[in-house]
């Protein structure tokens, strides 16, 4: 850190050598990652159809075809639904839960609730997805059976078999799956000494619980909330397994999303170039989402 102001060549070489063990692995993996991204970008402008690679350059042909497809429009609409409805309710719920666990609970309840809502993170979605498709079955599925049993027949729904609402029910599974993760992240950002002291002070001042939440806690955990929102946005954007297992994009392609279409285009339709193009679209959308976060993180990091 406190080097002499004038550095000799030897000293510079020394810093490079010194930083190499720290940076080398990261640099290697990053280089591979970006190399593959460039490759995908090129393939999206090549004419690869079928099982054999074809690197003939055709420009934006596949992007033009993509924009013409009705399925692509459905996907974009659905992805926007996922991004908005999958993220904000999860954050709100998680904030409420984390706050509740912090202020009002007994130690044992906290541990119980945390384990309870965290297990979906540890479990294979191939399996929990199958369970959810059984939960949602309209005629004999779990939810409707329960509703019938307790007499709430007017609440009985068609869930994922109704093309108009199916995506919303899928998003609900996403919230179920990520809630525990979100609570953990928020809880850990509660746990700073400064914040704890501020809350104690607010309690002494006799502030109401809601007031403490919105005027003391939320402004002080902006960073945690922002990280959470970005992580959730990206998971929602990349969402694949929930749709794949529970509806496979159906009814028809009404619940299809970009990631699933990309999978189908590449491996089922053998339109590898189109699949690569869809991948680039997902990546571009991710960039748009990530930019504000990266700017924020960048400022915090190098302040």
């Amino acid at each position: 850190m406190n080097r002499k102001p004038r550095r000799t060549f030897r000293q510079r070489l020394f810093t490079v050598l010194e930083s190499l063990p720290f940076l080398a692995p990261l640099l290697i993996f990053l280089a591979i990652l970006y190399g593959m991204l460039a490759w995908t970008l090129y393939v999206s402008m090549a004419n690869w159809v079928g099982t054999a690679p074809n690197y003939e350059f055709v420009g934006l042909k596949w992007y033009q075809m993509m924009f013409r497809l009705d399925r692509f429009r459905v996907d974009m609409t659905n992805n926007v639904k996922w991004l908005s409805l999958g993220v904000l309710p999860t954050v709100a719920l998680a904030l409420f839960l984390a706050y509740m666990l912090e202020i009002g609970s007994v130690k044992r309840i906290e541990g119980y609730v945390r384990t309870l809502i965290l297990y979906p993170v540890a479990m294979s979605f191939v399996v929990t997805g199958t369970i959810w498709s059984w939960m949602y079955q309209p005629d004999k599925g779990v939810l409707n059976t329960i509703l019938r049993a307790i007499g709430l027949t007017e609440l009985i729904g068609r869930y994922t078999t109704n093309p108009a609402t199916a995506t919303y029910w899928l998003i609900l599974i996403f919230i179920w799956q990520y809630l525990g993760f979100a609570v953990i992240i928020l809880q850990s950002s509660f746990r700073t000494t400064e914040l704890q002291e501020m809350v104690e002070a607010a309690i002494v001042d006799g502030a109401s619980k809601l007031r403490i939440l919105f005027s003391v806690i939320v402004p002080n955990i902006r960073g945690g909330i922002l990280i959470l929102i970005s992580l959730l946005l990206i998971s929602a954007l990349k969402v694949f397994d929930i749709v794949y297992v529970v509806t496979f994009g159906g009814p028809g392609y009404s619940t299809d999303v970009l990631a699933l279409f990309m999978f189908i285009a590449t491996f089922q339709q053998h339109l590898v170039a189109l699949g690569a193009g869809l991948g680039m679209i997902i990546f571009l959308m991710a960039l748009v989402i990530v930019i504000p976060y990266t700017i924020y993180a960048f400022r915090k990091w190098f302040e």
Binding site: L26, Y119, S188, T192, I203, K209, T294, W301, F302
Partner: protein, 274 residues
């Protein structure tokens, strides 16, 4: 911070009950299904317990998934250890250097975290084939490292940022170089960060399906691939699949419990004060 009060207690109780319902129900259905026969599953009476409990489903499931549990453990633990190690090194550098190069690197790493990995599936497989790593443990391990080292670097770096520099400066005066600083001073006090990063990486690798499907052979089949396989395509043995999943979840769950107490004091704890 604890605020006690009757209304708060009531809300807590109510919310806990609702959560219990929402989160126990799927597990209940899962356990019930794992104990049924295929014929009973066709009846779709998911909530009704069977009178004829098929505990041998678990024996059957264990027999089927045992090798893949070993494979998954080898791969996940290897990736977790290496990713956390490399991530720690990279993250430390990111958090300590202020050069323009590192600023660019930071952005590149940040963006890399959000690559949808389906985008790189085909080039990755081609790369693995060219380097002759495909179809081996090493191939899967390296692939997962490529995807997880940037993430681990950012997570670890975030934590290192919160460590006061005074400690390092004191050691530096004593003549320690960077690596010694990192291994002797910084790493020992960063164990919680290592633990949380390990949990995140482990979960990602353990649950990954698509790459494992593409790059594995019968000798390296992971648990996720096996779980998709035990159901079969023409007979639909959901009971065996559910039993397998319940056995399979024990490993990540015990790993969580083992490291869990660190998790809450996790990476974000100190670093993001506002």
């Amino acid at each position: 911070m604890r605020i006690r009060g009757l209304s708060t207690q009531l809300i807590v109780l109510l919310v806990t009950l609702v959560l219990t319902g929402v989160y126990v129900l799927p597990i209940y259905v899962m356990v019930m299904t794992s104990l049924k026969t295929p014929v009973e599953i066709s009846q779709r009476a998911y909530l009704i317990p069977t009178r004829n409990l098929q505990f041998q489903n678990y024996a059957e499931a264990f027999r089927l998934i045992y090798p893949s549990l070993i494979n998954s453990s080898i791969i996940s633990f290897a990736v977790t250890l290496l990713a956390v190690f490399f991530g720690g090194l990279g993250g430390y550098y990111l958090s300590r250097s202020r050069s323009p190069f590192v600023r660019v690197l930071f952005i590149l790493v940040g963006v890399a975290l959000y690559l949808p990995y389906q985008v790189i599936l085909i080039p990755l497989v081609q790369l693995m084939a060219k380097t002759r790593l495909a179809l081996t443990y090493a191939g899967l391990i390296v692939s997962y490292l490529i995807l997880n080292v940037p993430l681990a670097s950012v997570l670890m770096g975030t934590f290192f940022l919160s460590i006061p520099r005074e400690l390092e400066e004191a050691a530096q005066v004593d003549g320690a170089n960077r690596l010694q600083l990192f291994f002797r001073v910084v790493s020992p006090i960063s164990l919680p960060a290592y633990a949380s990063t390990a949990i995140i990486v482990f979960t990602q690798v353990w649950n990954e399906f698509l790459l494992a499907l593409t790059l594995s052979t019968p000798a390296t089949t992971t648990i996720q691939v096996k779980l998709a396989e035990v159901k079969g395509s023409f007979v639909a043995l959901y009971n065996i699949q559910m039993a397998s999943a319940l056995i399979g979840v024990l490993i990540p769950l015990s790993f969580f419990l083992f490291l869990g107490r660190y998790f809450i004091r996790g990476v974000l704890a100190g670093a993001l004060k506002g």
